[in-house]
């Protein structure tokens, strides 16, 4: 076979991967965390008072800002008696040298859709209570997620920011002659993402870990410990055992984050 010349970037990448695989096999992580330990989380609520709800989340050195806008709109024809949830993510070019401006790429779309799925499938928001006039007018909940600083695991940072912001959100019903009311909430989903390095599943990967991971797995659970959404990413595989070790860890970590960070 033809010899392939490698660029400096690739050599560095190969060395990094080898090193991280080696220390994982020895039972440790590059920043000293345990395999199932998440980075410190800081949630700063109501960061943007002009929004109907907002939260700034710092997950380690990753930083995202989620704003909720709730406006009137027409219901979808197949769900005339239901409000609408729409989710969008922007990987701002300020957040990383690898992000470019322009319309959302597949990474931003996947990120938004995975966060959306966790909120939607857990039935977090009681959309049936967001009807203004049956079949004609409903409240549309816009979840917009801005990525400000990228140090890995944007899915969990965004999902947490979205849930924290939704928990605080107010429906501006005074605009239609009623009284403002808190966004009706039924459940509180928490998403936990794992990166597979070698044969280890690491919770809440940082950027260095994410870059060398062969597979990624995100699991959203509700307060009953049921799984409500999952997504595997990247071009590596996982075994059934790895899947269930991640499921178990996500139920445990979800419970902890729900109580400690979200106060639920």
């Amino acid at each position: 076979m033809r010899a392939v010349s490698k660029s400096a970037d690739e050599i560095v990448y190969g060395l990094k991967r080898e090193y991280l695989e080696k220390i994982c096999a020895e039972g440790s992580r590059i920043d000293g965390r345990k395999f199932d330990e998440v980075r410190p989380i800081i949630v700063n609520r109501n960061f943007v008072p002009r929004a109907q709800g907002s939260a700034e989340v710092r997950l380690g050195d990753s930083r995202v800002l989620v704003g909720i806008k709730i406006e009137q709109g027409e219901p979808f024809p197949d769900t005339p008696n239901s409000g609408i949830l729409t989710t969008n993510a922007e990987l701002l070019p300020m957040a990383s040298p690898t992000f470019e401006s322009g319309p959302p790429g597949e990474d931003a779309i996947e990120l938004a859709r995975v966060v959306d799925r966790g909120i939607r499938e857990s039935k977090m928001i009681d959309l049936d209570k967001l009807v203004i006039k049956e079949g004609e007018k409903v409240w549309v909940v816009f979840v917009d997620m801005h990525i400000l600083d990228y140090d890995g695991n944007l899915i969990d940072a965004c999902a947490l920011g979205a849930v924290a912001a939704l928990l605080e959100a107010t429906v501006p019903a005074s605009k239609v002659g009623a009284e403002d009311f808190p966004l009706p909430i039924n459940h509180v989903p928490v998403t936990v993402t794992f990166a597979k390095i070698g044969s280890t599943m690491l919770a809440d990967p940082n950027l260095e870990e994410e870059e060398v991971a062969s597979a990624r797995l995100s699991i959203a659970t509700n307060e009953n410990g049921d799984v409500v959404a999952m997504q595997k990413g990247l071009s590596g595989s996982i075994t059934k055992e790895e899947l269930f070790s991640a499921v178990d860890a996500s139920i445990k970590l979800g419970k902890d984050i729900r109580k400690r960070v979200l106060g639920k």
Binding site: V227, M230, F244, V247
Partner: protein
């Protein structure tokens, strides 16, 4: 809506662990390097493979391996209400996870700087299009002569009327409580595609994964038979010519 009757049968008469009928045909397109057509229940999906060929634009090239590019597309007429043509956000996400899943099986390191392009066209949709698509795509990759660990097999399980069942149809998908599309590499049992929405306990999840894994072994057989059928029919044609 009741999805399972008193005898434990589903609205289309299937048992909980029964697949819809699956039929695969290989080499159905002339220009493509490889192709396959699959009918899976009411799903009709056509797949074409081009490559390995020089990746374009150039900055997408990887100097040490091939990239696998999947494009999942639904025809405007494939669903009840006309779908606006072109990729929507759902299609972008599905294309991404299918491409990543196929990349797990392909020996990409043999074709540096190239792309292997997989075009998946859903002609008629009936729930489970992504797994029908990925199942046909692996057959089309073999038809194109792309070396792989094994053919990736897609399969889905879900939950309807509180019970874990295999391979949801449209009504079951719409009115059921969970859907778990999955794809595996049969030879190694590795999971290469996994998504889930709905609500399942850990035990239900375990049952669903097991159901799909078992079914995947059976579907793997259908893939192989489809490939064999193509070469058998070519052989027969050759024999026919020589006896003339």
């Amino acid at each position: 809506m009741k999805l399972i009757n008193e005898e434990g049968l589903r609205i289309d008469g299937r048992k909980f662990n029964e697949l819809r009928p699956i039929r695969i045909e290989v080499g159905v397109l002339n220009r493509a390097d490889g192709s396959a057509y699959i009918e899976w229940g009411g799903n009709k999906v056509l797949v074409a493979v081009y490559g390995p060929r020089e990746a374009f634009p150039k900055h997408t090239q990887n100097p040490s391996r091939a990239i696998v590019n999947a494009r999942y597309n639904m025809a405007a007429f494939s669903v009840d209400e006309r779908k606006r043509p072109g990729p929507d956000r759902r299609a972008v996400e599905i294309s991404k996870v299918i491409g990543e899943a196929l990349e797990c099986a392909v020996f990409t390191e043999q074709f540096p700087r190239t792309s292997i392009d997989v075009y998946i066209e859903v002609l008629q949709a009936d729930a489970g299009t992504r797994i029908a698509g990925i199942t046909a795509a692996s057959v089309a990759l073999v038809d194109a002569g792309i070396p792989m660990k094994d053919m990736v097999v897609g399969c889905a399980a879900g939950k309807i009327d509180g019970k874990v069942v295999l391979d949801l149809n449209k009504e079951e998908d719409n009115f059921g409580q969970a859907d778990l599309p999955m794809a595996i590499i049969p030879r190694t049992q590795e999971i290469v595609l996994l998504q889930m929405d709905g609500n399942m306990t850990r035990d239900e999840l375990d049952q669903a994964v097991e159901l799909s894994k078992k079914a995947a072994m059976y579907i793997s057989g259908i893939q192989k038979e489809a490939l064999l059928a193509k070469y058998k029919s070519q052989e027969q044609e050759k024999e026919g010519e020589s006896s003339e």
